[in-house]
């Protein structure tokens, strides 16, 4: 077991910078996800840790030891590829034992490990099948089993669930969490799927353009995005943004936007005074806009918006409503399905001011950080 530390790591392919002075530290036994849009460099980063891509500059430390120039074969790392990369000409058993055979592990030990891992990952009875004879979910578990028997210091997972259908993916997420709790390995997981990232990781490194945008717990990423990119990327449905100006007049302290004056929570509102006149971008999650028939349930920080309903999307348990107010500003929000929402009708909703995020439009950073 080991911690992983990346110090100002850089990587270029030709003229384009893929990884740009990236710092990251993963604690021993931690489950960290590298999350980001496709092409952000997260897979390259993982492959650099695995030793499949060279490091142009910076340092890679695993368990305190510098690994920059150590070839992939000599790193105590296991990796599960997005494609699973099962050896098609080998049975499940030989696939799982391949790495152990290379390391000269005794027959007895190999059989013990095989028994343990096939039991652990529900692969009993499939040992003599070829990869083409088992299902996608089973292949994914074989790939995991093959990595786990090697007892690696660090387990690298490159979008291992992206080829599974939704139901299997949910089971696999539970399985991975169970594995992590059970074996306590350092796991670095790459995905572009925020649901996977949010549900499994202890910490998420949100990556964009080869840099870490924010590195924090899933809750922190959701509740206090440090910049516009995080706010946009994390959370579903996507956050609403409104241009606004901070206003510190006697009749109201808050942010004036197209959907009205947004009043923040007391603590942040008091800090707004010094920023009067500043242009900001206000981010409001669809979950922070609510509907209530009783106007007395509204808090003093809530802002009322009057909207004309344009579209209603059924999300199963909820409706996603897309509405437009008198100035033309579009607001997307969620509403429980019991409510009647009819397109073209007008309705009043409340914005929870405590959950409004304010960003500087030029630096794109959260103005309160």
């Amino acid at each position: 077991m080991a911690d992983v530390i990346l110090r100002s790591l850089s990587k270029k392919f030709g003229n384009s910078t893929i990884i740009d002075n990236l710092d990251l530290s993963v604690r021993d036994g931690e489950f960290v996800t590298l999350l980001g849009p496709s092409g952000c460099g997260k897979t390259t980063l993982l492959r650099m840790i695995a030793g499949l891509e060279s490091i142009d500059s910076g340092e890679l430390l695993i368990g305190g030891k510098r690994y920059n120039a150590i070839p992939a074969q000599k790193r105590r790392i296991a990796m599960v590829f997005q494609s699973y990369a099962l050896f098609p000409h080998m049975t499940v058993r030989r696939n799982i034992l391949f790495g152990l055979q290379l390391n000269g592990v005794s027959q007895l030990k190999m059989q013990q490990k095989l028994k343990w891992v096939t039991g652990f990952l529900h692969l009993k009875g499939l040992e003599d099948r070829l990869p083409r004879e088992i299902s996608g979910g089973q292949r994914q578990r074989v790939a995991l089993a093959r990595a786990l028997v090697l007892d690696p210091d660090v387990l690298l997972l490159d979008e291992p669930l992206s080829n599974l259908d939704a139901a299997l993916r949910e089971t696999a997420i539970e399985e991975l969490k169970r594995i992590h709790r059970h074996v306590g390995k350092t796991i670095i997981y790459v995905t572009h799927n925020q649901v996977e990232a949010m549900s499994m990781s202890e910490r998420i490194a949100l990556i964009n353009n080869g840099r870490t945008v924010q590195y924090d717990s899933p809750t922190a990423l959701y509740d206090s995005p440090s910049n516009i990119f995080t706010a946009e990327f994390i959370g579903s449905p996507q956050i609403n943004f409104f241009d606004g100006v901070i206003q510190a007049e006697e009749d109201g302290l808050g942010v004036m936007t197209d959907i009205g004056l947004l009043k923040l929570d007391k603590e942040r509102n008091s800090r707004l005074k010094d920023l009067a006149g500043k242009k900001v971008k206000a981010g409001i999650r669809p979950q922070s806009v609510y509907f209530s028939k009783h106007s007395d349930s509204r808090r003093h920080t809530d802002t009322v918006i009057e909207l004309t309903v344009e579209l209603v999307e059924n999300l199963g348990d909820k409706y996603l409503v897309i509405g437009r107010n008198i100035t033309g500003a579009v607001v997307r929000f969620l509403i429980v399905r019991d409510e009647e929402v009819i397109p073209e009708r007008k309705m009043k909703v409340f914005v929870d001011g405590r959950k409004v995020h304010l960003f500087d439009p030029t630096t794109s950073l959260n103005i309160f950080n």
């Binding site: 499949l52 098609p88 290379l102 990869p131 004879e133």
Partner: protein, 284 residues
């Protein structure tokens, strides 16, 4: 997911008729000459020299006479053995030389790759009859004429471009993930090659082996010029050439039948390595 069996698309009946006719024609084109060859080899003289009457579809009195004559000729055994030795050695040598070349050319970016490929195929850009003279002259210089290894080398020269090109295709089609997965699991270059890449390239290489065997087995021009002097008793094609004016013609047909049997045996032997869709289930 890749499904093992391709989806069959139902055909309209009009299309069915056209296709069935086409398939029957294709089968006939391939099998009729084989039938004629076998028929000739077991024909008696009267069924060949009919004195103006049409040649029968089946010999009047089938006979194994031609085969018996062959099997009594001790030259024939030597020639058969020579052909087998030359063909097998050519296959082995071509694979030993061609597979590593195909591996490197198929999986690594090396400078001047295209030029190399062009150079490799260049020997086959000319008709054999044109390239045979300089090659034989060179072989005489190095004392390789009238030897087994001279012919083997010449046949390897002819087969190698095909082995390399088929091999490149076989190695290229193996997903890079498999190779890298082996590395991450601790396999060195050699282990990765022998335990992962080579087994997966086997179907392609088996095809190349069959092709090489056929090429060497049927090759005439190079063997003829290299063996000038005592070519009649060297390989089967030369033996056949030596008796091409002999009567009766059923002997020629019998030799031709003997010529094709080992090819069929070799193809059947190697065919079990030609598994379709060997990498199914590896990725995805």
């Amino acid at each position: 997911m890749i499904s093992a069996t391709p989806k069959r698309i139902p055909m309209t009946s009009g299309k069915k008729v056209i296709w069935t006719t086409g398939i029957i024609l294709a089968v006939l084109i391939v099998t009729v000459p084989v039938y004629l060859l076998v028929k000739y080899s077991i024909s008696d003289i009267k069924s060949i020299n009919t004195g103006g009457k049409p040649i029968p579809w089946w010999p009047f009195e089938p006979t194994m006479q031609a085969f018996l004559y062959l099997f009594r000729d001790h030259h024939f055994y030597q020639v058969l053995l020579n052909s087998v030795i030359v063909a097998f050695s050519t296959v082995v040598l071509s694979l030993i030389l061609g597979v590593p070349a195909a591996y490197i050319l198929g999986r690594y970016k090396i400078p001047g790759r295209k030029l190399l490929l062009l150079g490799i195929i260049s020997v086959r850009l000319f008709p054999d009859i044109a390239s045979v003279i300089p090659v034989v002259e060179f072989f005489i210089h190095i004392g390789a004429h009238q030897t087994y290894w001279g012919v083997i080398l010449a046949h390897t020269l002819l087969a190698l471009p095909y082995v390399i090109f088929i091999g490149i295709g076989a190695f290229e089609s193996i997903p890079a993930d498999l190779e890298q997965q082996a590395w991450v699991m601790g396999a060195g270059t050699g282990q990765t090659f022998f335990r992962i890449l080579l087994p997966l390239a086997t179907p392609g290489l088996a095809a190349a082996a069959i092709y090489t065997f056929l090429l060497s087995w049927d090759e005439f021009i190079f063997a003829y010029f290299l063996m000038l002097g005592n070519q009649e008793i060297f390989t089967l094609t030369l033996y056949l050439n030596g008796i091409k004016y002999a009567e009766p013609q059923n002997l020629l047909a019998a030799i031709s039948v003997c010529l094709s049997v080992p090819v069929i045996i070799f193809s059947l032997m190697v065919q079990r390595y030609m598994i379709a869709g060997i990498s199914t289930g590896s990725v995805k």
